[in-house]
Amino acid sequence: MSDIVLVKSVRTPVGRFLGGLSQFNALDLGAMVIRDLMEQTKLDPSLVDGVICGWAAQDYAAKDVAREAALRAGLPESIVGWTVQRNCATGMEALSYAQTRIRAGKGEVYIIAGVESLSNVPNSLPRGIDRQRDLLGSRTFYDPLFEGLTDPHARMLMGGVANYMAHKYGISKQEQDQVALWSHQRAHEGEARLREEMVSAELLGTLPIQKDEGVRAGLTLENLTALQPFTPFAEQFLAYIREQDPDATGIPTVTPANASQISDGGIAALVMTEERAKALGYAPLAYVKGIDFTAVRPDHFPVAPAYSMLNAAKAAGLDLKDVSLWDINEAFAVVPIASGRVLREHGFELDLENVNVNGGACAIGHPLGASGLRILTTVAYEMQRRDAQYGMASICVQGGLGGTTILERR
């Protein structure tokens, strides 16, 4: 079976909720990054076998964002697209499906992308279908984003679940705040490095923001410590543990600052077989060594990355000790910490020094459908700088999933 390589990946800066990128919807962002990717790689559009784009919070902005963004980016009329949705692992799923297509013998060259414009998720009003209930009286406008951040089975906001895991694994607020602080410090120090994975300087110059908008330079641990746990997270978490045991007590620890930010962003990457990359004269950024998705209980999603990393390593025949660089998505600061605890139970000591070395979602932000591809891109570029052999990108997913990609440099 031929090996699959990541040739190039470009992304927009990540914008804050209702911030610098909010004038662009998901389709705009997708078209923008795909066009830039085509220009930077100078790829002949007729060689592209398909476009696979992840988009989590889908609305009416596009029917099939993969094809529509590709058309707008100048790809030919015949281009075929797939839009995929696996919540926060959506961007990683785009890579995974490209790999599947190539292995199935359905083409060799794919553009993959991940887009999200959470600023543009519209509020929504159910059609009036209940005469008794809807024809007289006030009606509620829903916020799909808020609904999407609530687990349909655990019936808790993601932050409530994060708090539950902090409780279960005995992770203090201080530990979480420390990870969040590192995230901002590293992202700030790594600004120039993060710039390397972004769109071309010309395109960047035309955007309202030129760097990841959520990163706060002068943040201190005192700032973070002073912040109180977010009440809805705390209430849902406490109610949840009391459902199981009426006498249970727990300490709320998740604050808006040790959680990721709600963001906008787009990312696109070019993947192909090793042979095709050689034939076209591309130097691979990284080889895709393995991809894994693992599901655990919905109320345990923050530790799902650990199980996924273990499964991914096993399937790839690797020892976790062989991996020198990690990105574990900071949907909440508790995620890398709790995942580390689970890995410890399995005999591996995760050193947070090597995790999210250029900052994570607490600072950079979490544009859901783009994040999976963003973190593996950040790992790939950093592997190149350090000449690391193996890197791992792992993401937790609403609903109890973990997704992991192992990258290799040869």
Binding site: L18, S22, Q23, A57, Q58, D59, Y60, A62, K63, D64, R67, E68, P76, E77, S78, I79, V80, G81, W82, T83, V84, Q85, R86, N87, E93, Y97, Q99, T100, R101, R103, A104, G105, K106, S119, N120, V121, P122, N123, S124, L125, P126, R127, I129, D130, F141, P144, L145, E147, G148, P152, H153, F293, T294, A295, V296, R297, P298, Q398, G399, L401
Partner: protein, 400 residues
Amino acid sequence: MDVALVNPVRTPFGLYMGSLSSLNARDLAAFCLRDLIAKTSVNPAEVDEVIAGWAMPDFYAPNIARVAALDAGFPESEIGVQLTTGIQALEYAADRIRAGEGDLYAVVAVESSSAVKNALPKTTNKRTLLGPRLLIDPLWELYKQDRIPLGAYADNLAEQLGITRQQQDEYAALSHKRAFKATKKYKGEFTDAIAIPDRPVYDGMPAPGTSTRIASDEGVRMNASAASFSGARTDERFAGYFPCAPTITLENSAPYADGAVALLVTTPERAASLGLTATAFLDDIIAVGSRDPLLAPALALEKTLEVHGIAAADLTAVELPELFACQLLANQLVLREKGIVIPAEGINVNGGALALGEAYAATSLRMVASLAHELNRRGGKGIAATMTQAGVGRAALLRR
């Protein structure tokens, strides 16, 4: 590698705001999956993954494949992925099998037009802080290409190809007749009767004792005739986009619908080891992108014949989309002009969306399911050429 399609099953299709409208897509998908598992007696833990198609997704079911699978009794280790339409979900499963990544998938396609909410864009722009704001209907927006409703394209297509109102009305009546006959005859293709709450349930399933049950497609009219359709007014929402005499009416175009379709996708070996019989085998799915939103199915069908070296005469049954009667007739005409002649008695033999309703993601998988069942009876090869979003035609080549 051979890909086997096992036990395609679907809910009855309800009309927009009709009998299924108090259920949402999550309920329909979970119900259909549960029925599939019950009918095939497969242990859900053995399914490699549930793959869903949903064209008008909403965040009440973020990644509906996993949400509905857990609702339907799949274990927590079930992962799930959501694509846009049913035939894409099927394509995804077939790709996974051909890539050697698994050999048993449950594919479900679902649409609840009735549950699509109206949308109010967030105010991200200072310009919209003052003045009225538009409440958008995504159902209507997704019915457009390049801001023109598909019905306007259909009106134009009818004019260009000389398809008369009479021909369209006749075909629409035929679709109803065929669907009526088929629903009576082939009860095994349906899920068990579905329980419907009397009132919409926005959160969770209905309380016991508040439901009625429906067992058949709501849109099918047994007394449909071209004469009864001839009085219908042309649809004025489609007027003014192209210079043409309007012929599209509510009767010769497909109504919006709600429904779900599910099937198992596996290898012949795995099917045998599970004691399951393949309804049909999937040889390939081929997609073609085109500028014309309505004629892409014909192009996909043509390319499928070409790639696989099959003649039109080798096909025992064909499924073509019926978003409009005009669309079906136009695709047929275009194919005939290219020398691909499929006898009319081989196309949509069990009726189509004109009678059953258009339930986007579910419709494309319903066409494949219907073809699989028909090939199971007739034998031979067949193609379901579907229309997916944004001008893409996707054709599935099936055989017994």
